[in-house]
């Protein structure tokens, strides 16, 4: 029940506004690029040093010198540019990126996020995520709301080492769309066919239901 990953990405794509420079994280966020609404101009940045990412290359046209931060082969759009890592993070830290979409292992009701380490088990590293969440004004988390063991990832308090504090603004999961408010997770939209009851059960942190709650729309 709830959205599949591609539909989560599609819902997030509705947040794109004309003229946005966007950094997409690995996983569900990457899929957002496939759903840019028609008629608006968006440029996608990858922190390894490219602005203006296009589609994947045609088979046989892959270039080892042209990848995104997920190490996938890519192409570029007209107007693209390449730059070094220091300049890339000038864009990020300098607040020139308008929207950051990234995945998470946990999000707390105060906007804290954890996504880089499970002590003693998995340490892949934070990559560019700490720079992104510390700087971006506009951060959307894209993730499944419940982990493989059935536990909620929308928490009162993160249990894992943090990536950033009080930085997440919005969360889109397979079940709903949430805004971080001083009172907790504000449910503003639910996925088609998903009950508020179901959402409450999948939210460990404080959940408030918006007075303007509506069903997600994909028209």
């Amino acid at each position: 029940m709830g959205l599949d990953k591609d539909t989560i990405a599609k819902r997030i794509a509705q947040e794109l506004k004309n003229g946005f420079y966007v950094n997409l994280g690995i996983g569900i966020p990457t899929l957002v690029a496939n759903h840019v609404p028609p008629g608006i101009a968006i440029e996608f940045q990858s922190e390894n040093g490219v602005m203006g990412i296009g589609q994947f290359p045609f088979e046989g046209e892959e270039d080892a010198d042209l990848i995104n931060a997920g190490k996938q082969t890519i192409t570029t759009m007209p107007g693209a540019s390449f730059f070094d890592s220091a300049v890339s993070f000038s864009m990020i830290r300098g607040k020139h990126i308008d929207l950051t979409v990234l995945g998470a292992m946990e999000v707390a009701e105060n906007g804290d996020i954890a996504n880089w380490k499970i002590p003693g088990k998995m340490v892949k590293g934070m990559g560019g995520a700490m720079d992104l969440v510390a700087s971006a004004e506009n951060i959307i988390v894209a993730m499944m709301q419940v982990n493989k063991r059935g536990e909620s990832k929308l928490l009162k308090k993160c249990s894992l080492p943090l990536t950033g504090i009080k930085c997440v603004k919005k969360i889109v999961t397979e079940l709903g769309v949430y805004e971080i408010t001083p009172e907790g997770f504000l449910l503003v939209e639910y996925a088609p066919g998903v009950s508020v009851e179901k959402i409450k059960n999948a939210t460990e942190g404080t959940l408030i239901v918006s007075e303007d709650l509506k069903e997600m729309s994909f028209s």
Binding site: F56, E62, K124, D131
Partner: protein
Amino acid sequence: MINKKVKNVATAIEGVEDGMTLMLGGFGLCGIPENSIGALVEIGVKNLTCISNNAGVDDFGLGLLLQKKQIKKMIASYVGENAEFERQMLSGELEVELTPQGTLAERCRAAQAGIPAFYTPAGCGTEVAEGKETREFKGKMHVLETAYEADFSIVKAWKGDEAGNLIFKGTARNFNPAMCGAGKITIAEVEELVPVGSLDPNQIHIPGIFVNRIFQGAKFEKRIEQRTVRSK
């Protein structure tokens, strides 16, 4: 023109010794100094501290040095994609310092630029800031980060000339420019070493002053980690 050309990779890495700190360019396997890494494996230097965004894969890039246990400590931002790395880290054989990617780039650039320390918002309120000085600027907390110190910077460029001027290609640029001149000695391996005067002075990414030794790599495998394509 001050000539930086050395005859081969063996000459280029002369002076790299056990226990030294090396900065190595590249993002994933893109833009890594393949030839120099191969030569370091060959000479077998040990107890290295390596500053590099990633740690290669099991059988390529810095993974080759890990396999031979030549690395004592790794400073990186992302180290997935490497089972041997994970094994050595979890067993405690390998010391690991994880750093936000932008901070990693800026600490290299700071070393190049003679900036001993700077403030960044990245990592505030997390493990990364533990034991570090923090300070508020315009209502927001920042961490004080210092310039890296390294004995050698080892980078890979697309084209270079004998004066040491470098041009990078596509996203193979990544950390390479910020590392040039950040270590005490900078080694650049290039795909094509061109005669002085054939590069447009207006389009040089890294002026030769930041490079001490340059050579044309014998072979570049340029492995692709995630071959993603669409059909026609």
